[in-house]
């Protein structure tokens, strides 16, 4: 699994959304991505990529697309 597949799979598993909905997906678009879902997703991404995210980045992580740029800061190329 490459990094992008891993990234997408983490969203699908944590938020229980279809893969085709991912590209446009933003925070609070679906019921599962509320504040608790956000904590679950951030933790799952940290575990999947072995990174430790800064709180400002966790707050700025507003969607599937925006998250790619944030992960790049931690050396995760998608």
């Amino acid at each position: 699994m490459n990094n992008l597949e891993k990234y997408d799979a983490t969203f699908v598993d944590t938020l229980m959304v279809g893969r085709d909905a991912l590209a446009a997906l933003k925070y609070q678009d679906v019921e599962a991505w509320d504040s608790v879902g956000h904590m679950q997703l951030m933790n799952a991404l940290e575990e999947a990529f072995g990174i430790e995210m800064d709180i400002d980045d966790i707050i700025a992580f507003s969607g599937h697309e925006a998250g790619k740029g944030i992960l790049a800061k931690y050396g995760v190329q998608l």
């Binding site: 504040s35 608790v36 904590m39 679950q40 951030m42 933790n43 799952a44 940290e46 575990e47 990174i51 430790e52 995210m53």
Partner: protein, 411 residues
């Protein structure tokens, strides 16, 4: 492994009339301290974090999710690295925690603080069982049973017993530190139980908290910023029905009267709309609020008017801030509010009981400097609205890793 590390645990304690909720029998407790942020503790807490965040319980109990998110590796590892750069430290030994009843997840935070500072811990959870207690004890127990976490399992116990001085006294007599949560009378009583001469007490007594909102910032906030502010305030005040020490009881508006009036017209109706969607008020709380209103009107000559938004928000407007305002607590959506300009009117009534100042549109660093310059006895935390309940390793003005460990000095 060298011989010293293989030494058997300290002498066994006599059997006490208590229920162990997580961990083995008390007699087998290993009291030997470790370095703060020791690898076995970080491994344990991150495993616990993973279990809790992955379970459906996180969804049912946002406070459990918050605890789990706090103790994930991504949050703790950078702190571990920062502490590793300081002088050599080791935990004090056995820490006894008497956990609070008002905020159910705080026993888990208290335990995690003791672990991270390098200690063995006995945590007494409140007698009244909350759903969160059950979930967290079960999760702790599952990980304690995992042989990979034997080092942590050997050093930690969660216990429950009816209020009983003989038990607390027996545990106190063995404690290198005590972390005491409770009302002022409970704390005074617990402190009167003898502890070893070098025992350190950290007391989390009753505190009072407030929000300070800049009227102009509220008036100029866009719809998203206003929605975030209102959600943050809802989180701070309503998630624990205002029972947490850090939940706001008083709202201090900063600005000229006209600007404050306008800001109130934006803020409270927006909060009420959110409450209507997301907050179920127990009927008993509605009655409580009416009683509080009558009491406040009788006790505070500064009270000039009150406004009700259904039963969800009761607010009492004060002409000025009276000394002793911290004696007047609300519950489940009962607030005092006052218009002020500058920090001085508040500084004039700050008491040691004041804990958290949540702010919107204000310079928190500048406020912190004022607290220091004016030599105030209260206000330990200044955080954005929405962060009132975000408990951490610095709490009530104590740095818990420092307090619950000791320095091995090499001058």
């Amino acid at each position: 492994m060298n011989a010293l590390l293989e030494r058997p645990p300290a002498p066994a304690a006599p059997a006490l009339p208590l229920t162990v909720r997580a961990g083995g029998p008390l007699q087998t407790l290993d009291r030997r301290p470790m370095a703060p942020f020791a690898a076995p503790v970080l491994d344990f807490l991150s495993a616990l974090s993973h279990d809790l965040l992955a379970s459906p319980d996180a969804r049912r109990h946002p406070d459990i999710a918050t605890f789990a998110f706090w103790c994930r590796r991504g949050h703790l590892q950078p702190m571990a690295e920062a502490w590793a750069r300081g002088p050599a430290r080791v935990g004090r030994g056995l820490v006894l925690h008497i956990a609070p009843g008002n905020v159910p997840v705080n026993f888990a935070f208290s335990l995690a603080f003791g672990m991270l500072a390098g200690n063995a811990n006995i945590v007494r959870v409140a007698e009244v069982e909350r759903a969160q207690t059950t979930v967290l004890c079960a999760a702790l127990q599952r990980r304690f049973a995992d042989p990979r976490h034997a080092v942590v399992a050997a050093r930690n116990r969660v216990v429950q017993y009816a209020r009983d001085d003989t038990v607390t006294a027996a545990l106190s007599a063995q404690a290198a530190a005590r972390v005491l949560w409770g009302g002022d009378r409970t704390i005074a009583h617990l402190r009167s139980l003898p502890a070893p001469p070098r025992c350190v007490d950290v007391a989390f007594a009753d505190r009072y908290s407030l929000a300070m909102l800049d009227a102009r910032a509220v008036n100029e906030a866009g719809s998203q910023a206003l929605a975030d502010l209102v959600r943050g305030f809802f989180h701070d005040a309503y998630l624990q029905d205002q029972d947490a020490c850090s939940s706001p009881q008083l709202v201090v508006w900063q600005g000229e009267p006209a600007a404050c009036a306008q800001a109130r017209q934006r803020f409270w109706p927006a909060l009420d709309a959110l409450l209507e969607r997301e907050y179920a008020l127990a009927p008993i709380h509605a009655v409580d609020k009416l009683v509080q209103l009558c009491r406040a009107a009788a006790a505070l000559p500064q009270a000039q008017s009150s406004v009700r938004h259904g039963n969800r928000i009761h607010r009492v407007q004060l002409q000025s801030l009276p000394a002793g305002i911290e004696q007047h607590r609300g519950h489940a959506g009962f607030f005092f509010e006052v218009d002020t300009t500058g920090f001085e009117p508040l500084a004039g009534v700050v008491d040691a009981r004041l804990q958290t100042l949540t702010t919107f549109g204000l310079d928190r660093q500048a406020l912190a400097r004022r607290v220091v310059e004016l030599g105030l006895t209260g206000i330990d935390r200044i955080v954005p609205v929405g962060q009132a309940l975000a408990i951490g390793l610095v709490w009530d003005g104590h740095d818990l890793v420092s307090t619950l460990s000791r320095i091995v000095e090499v001058p």
